[in-house]
């Protein structure tokens, strides 16, 4: 060997490019960096260190074995996942020739078919090498020959490593860490190593030291590897191992998923298997060594995308790390479920997604809460499970119609719907429907909103509105009633007045004796008619709620005394004893005029139905919370059945009986209205017909309302606007 000669100046690094075939290799399916370890060559066998950024050790070994056509090539794993060591008895002829002439650093074979020799020699040696290389090239391959190019690589002017990279590399080598950073271009590194020969020598020495140990572990690894492989190939899920950049190994299922023939995935960059849009997420999981399952779009051979679910685990491998990844193809359903699950969980409404057969495939937690079913009880069930029993059949029919013509149906559109909880109770809902997917692969997203609360608010609002309307109607009716009462009062009283006045005038004007009796009959009946009109007006007022009390503080005893005094004359005329019994002086807040009206009504009734010689007694009794006024007579009495309806309007319990002054049947009714307006009670008792009767009313000591009336004014001059009240 005449490697280094004095002539031709100082040695430089030369790069000689030529087609792979010319360099003695077929075009490799990956790039490969081959380095002959000269020190070991001395022992007889040649040792090559092969490193590739795109091929795995196995694939490189297989390829190299075919190239050398040698049977005794031994392969061993290298110091890094895609570095391996080949030991062989001979080298390709050209390589031997070149090595005999110049110092060969390494040979780079590129997947595009170019071979690049990196040699160290002087200019003179270059010429000799060129001559030999050209001689070595097949005589007919002129075109190929033309492609041999020579490049002088100045030692310093074109550094291939930055200072920082160089230092990192030196440190790594010194520490025995052979795994090179991925970003280092190995071809350029080779050149750099040529310039830092010492560092490389250190590397060689280290490699030499660890060789033995590696050989031993290689056998064990192979054994466990075989075991692992058979296991992995049996798996239905795709399993692959990568070093962060390249696929180191994979099982059959992985190759099938990606559409590659067995053995072709190894050595490929993992990103070849990832659709561009999923590369970021894959990088993120790999760099974070995340154990989480995630979804990605894989890329099959030929570029077709395939949805995958991946779970990775990073483990220590050699001196670095590798990642084993299991891959599962996502079916359309799985894809769909995955895409929607997170979305539906985030929704505030219950969401139910059904497939084309209306079976529930996705629900969210809100659905579980709203319907009272656990998720597992819902999935796979027909959606009619959530529909009240009575409407399941029509619902099924409607839904078939919907599936035939699926359109988006927004919330609140359509009929009032009802849903059924697990416990059988139903509740009003609003449902929106959105079809997704294609005709043959239809899914419907149903959003269900419980509107019971809203409905009850609406109902309340409607009821309030209805109450307002009722109130308005009542107010209007009230106005009509008031107008009627006023008009009736005016129209009835107006013609009565001249009649009464004129009969009065005639009677005062000394009529003939034969005229007096007819005039008196007319006067009596006119008075009766006037009383009836006044009573009717009063009843109307009471029923319209227009009977307003004008209460003042009054002594009830005094009112009784006065009322009795006003009937003293009548009683004497009829021969009836009119007495006042117990008379407690009690101050009460009452409408004097109205109370007097009740008193006179009771007194008039008592006198009317008591015969001569009888007795009428009035008493005032001070009870604890109330005052009771009682009028007891010894009259004709009242039967029990009549007692019950005594205080109803137009009741005359002694109909047909001849009395001097028949009433209107309204007196007691009006009395009851007046007493009840005061917050009191009226009542009557009798031991039956012929046994007299007792009428009483009771007034509370504290009035029902703070002030029922607005003032102390009564009709002026004590002139009431109604009659005696019988």
């Amino acid at each position: 060997m005449t490697k280094a000669t004095a002539g031709g100046g100082p040695p430089s690094i030369y790069r000689v490019d030529m087609p792979c075939e010319e360099a003695g290799f077929s075009r490799p399916p990956f790039d490969v960096h081959l380095k002959v370890l000269p020190a070991l060559a001395a022992g007889g066998d040649w040792t090559l260190l092969a490193h590739s950024s795109t091929g795995t050790a196995d694939v490189m070994a297989g390829w190299l074995a075919r190239q050398t056509r040698l049977e005794h090539v031994r392969f061993a794993p290298g110091p890094a996942p895609n570095v391996f060591r080949a030991t062989m008895p001979a080298l390709p002829a050209l390589w031997s020739t070149v090595a005999s002439l110049v110092k060969v650093h390494h040979l780079d074979l590129e997947a595009d078919g170019l071979a690049a020799w990196f040699v160290e020699c002087t200019r003179d040696q270059v010429h000799a090498l060129k001559e030999r290389l050209e001689l070595a090239v097949e005589p007919g391959a002129k075109a190929a020959r033309a492609e041999i190019r020579w490049h002088a690589l100045p030692r310093r002017s074109r550094p291939v490593l930055s200072r920082r990279q160089f230092e990192a590399l030196s440190t790594a080598v010194a520490m025995g860490n052979y795994e090179l950073p991925h970003h280092v271009d190995l071809r350029r590194l080779g050149a750099a190593i040529a310039g830092v020969g010492r560092a490389f020598d250190t590397l060689k020495a280290k490699l030499s030291e660890s060789r033995k140990a590696q050989r031993a572990s290689a056998a064990a690894l192979k054994q466990s590897e075989e075991r692992f492989r058979s296991l992995a190939d049996a798996a239905s899920e795709g399993i692959l191992i990568h070093d962060g950049v390249h696929i180191v190994d994979c099982n059959r299922a992985a190759a099938r998923i990606f559409g590659y023939p067995e053995g072709e995935l190894e050595g490929r960059p993992i990103m070849d298997l990832v659709a561009p849009r999923s590369r970021a997420i894959v990088r993120a999981h790999v760099s974070a060594a995340s154990p989480e399952a995630y979804e990605l779009m894989g890329m099959r051979k030929g570029g077709k995308e395939i949805p995958l679910e991946a779970t990775g685990k990073t483990f220590a491998w050699g001196t670095g790390t590798a990642r084993v990844v299991t891959l599962r193809e996502m079916t359309r359903q799985r894809q769909f479920e995955h895409r929607f699950q997170d979305l539906v969980e985030a929704a505030p409404d219950a969401m139910v997604i059904v497939d084309g057969q209306s079976r529930i495939i996705i629900v969210n937690a809100e659905t579980e809460r709203m319907f009272g079913y656990a998720r597992a009880e819902l999935l796979g069930q027909p959606v009619e499970l959530l529909v009240p029993e009575g409407t399941r059949e029509p619902h099924a029919a409607q839904r078939e119609g919907y599936i035939a013509h699926p359109v988006k149906r927004p919330m609140g559109k359509g009929r009032a719907l009802s849903a059924r909880r697990k416990d059988g109770t139903t509740f009003p809902v609003e449902i929106s429907l959105s079809p997704v997917g294609s005709e043959e692969d239809l899914r419907v997203i149903a959003t269900v909103r419980d509107i019971s609360e809203r409905l009850s608010i609406e109902r309340e609002r409607m009821e309030a509105a209805s109450r307002r309307r009722d109130f308005e109607v009542l107010k209007a009716a009230d106005r009509v009633k008031t107008t009627f009462i006023n008009t009736a009062a005016h129209e009835l009283r107006t013609p009565l007045m001249p009649l009464r006045t004129q009969i009065h005038v005639l009677l005062k004007g000394m009529p003939r004796e034969d005229q007096r009796a007819p005039l008196e009959i007319a006067q009596r009946n006119l008075k009766r008619l006037s009383t009836l009109v006044e009573d009717l007006l009063l009843v109307s007022k009471a029923q319209a709620g227009h009977l307003i009390l004008k209460s003042t503080t009054a002594d009830l005893g005094k009112l009784v005394t006065e009322a009795v005094a006003s009937y003293a004359e009548v009683a004497r005329e009829r021969g009836i004893a009119l007495d006042i019994g117990d008379l407690a002086p009690v101050q009460l807040h009452v409408d004097e005029l109205r109370i007097t009206q009740v008193l006179t009504n009771f007194l008039a009734n008592a006198l009317k139905f008591t015969s001569a010689g009888g007795r009428v007694t009035v008493s005032v009794e001070d009870r604890e919370d109330a005052v009771r006024v009682t009028v007891t007579d010894e009259g004709i009495g009242i039967s029990p059945e009549n007692l019950a309806r005594l205080f109803e309007p137009f009741v005359q319990v002694h109909e047909g009986k001849e009395v001097s002054d028949p009433g209107t049947g309204l007196g007691l009714y009006i009395s009851r209205q007046i007493i009840e307006l005061h917050g009191g009670l009226v009542g009557a008792s009798s031991l039956g017909e012929g046994h007299g009767a007792t009428f009483w009313f009771e007034l509370p000591k504290s009035p029902p309302d703070a002030d029922q009336g607005s003032g102390s004014d009564h009709s002026p001059d004590g002139i009431g606007d109604f009659g005696e009240g019988r």
């Binding site: 009462i485 006023n486 009062a489 005016h490 129209e491 009835l492 009283r493 107006t494 013609p495 009565l496 007045m497 001249p498 009464r500 006045t501 004129q502 009065h504 005038v505 005062k508 004007g509 008075k527 006037s530 009109v533 006044e534 007006l537 007022k541 227009h546 307003i548 003032g711 004014d713 009709s715 002026p716 001059d717 002139i719 009431g720 606007d721 109604f722 009659g723």
Partner: protein
């Protein structure tokens, strides 16, 4: 009011003005009161306006007015009468059942009495006698 000699208005010299749009009421009141008080001179008006004209042209001792009348109602008339002849006593009578009216007649027209048309004729006579000066 004294009864000065030579008063041509009649015995007692007192004049009552009845205001009502209904002729039957006017006349029946006239008959009633004339019979009870033969010396009273009674004049009648069919409306508030006519009544104000009469009041402006002659002396009146007491006015007795209905409430419901076309044009100026009894209350308006009495309020105006009170403004112009505050010394002259005023009585309102009405067939209405409106409780508020009595209140308003008292406060706004300061009436001496408020009579309902349903009262006994004798009570009307007595009310007029009572309020004549």
């Amino acid at each position: 009011m004294s009864d000065p000699a030579g008063d041509v208005e009649g015995q007692g010299g007192q004049v009552l003005l009845i205001v009502d749009d209904e002729p039957d009421i006017r006349e029946s009141f006239q008959f009633l009161l004339q019979q009870a008080m033969p010396h009273l001179r009674i004049v009648a008006a069919r409306s508030g306006h006519e009544a104000l004209e009469i009041l402006g042209s002659q002396h009146v001792d007491l006015v007795l007015s209905d409430f419901k009348m076309p044009g100026m109602d009894g209350l308006e008339f009495l309020v105006e009468a009170r403004r112009r002849w505050p010394e002259m006593p005023r009585i309102m009578f009405t067939a209405y059942a409106d409780d508020d009216l009595a209140q308003r007649a008292r406060s706004e027209a300061s009436v001496s009495a408020f009579l309902s048309k349903n009262i006994d004729p004798q009570e009307i006579v007595e009310a007029v006698k009572k309020h004549l000066p």
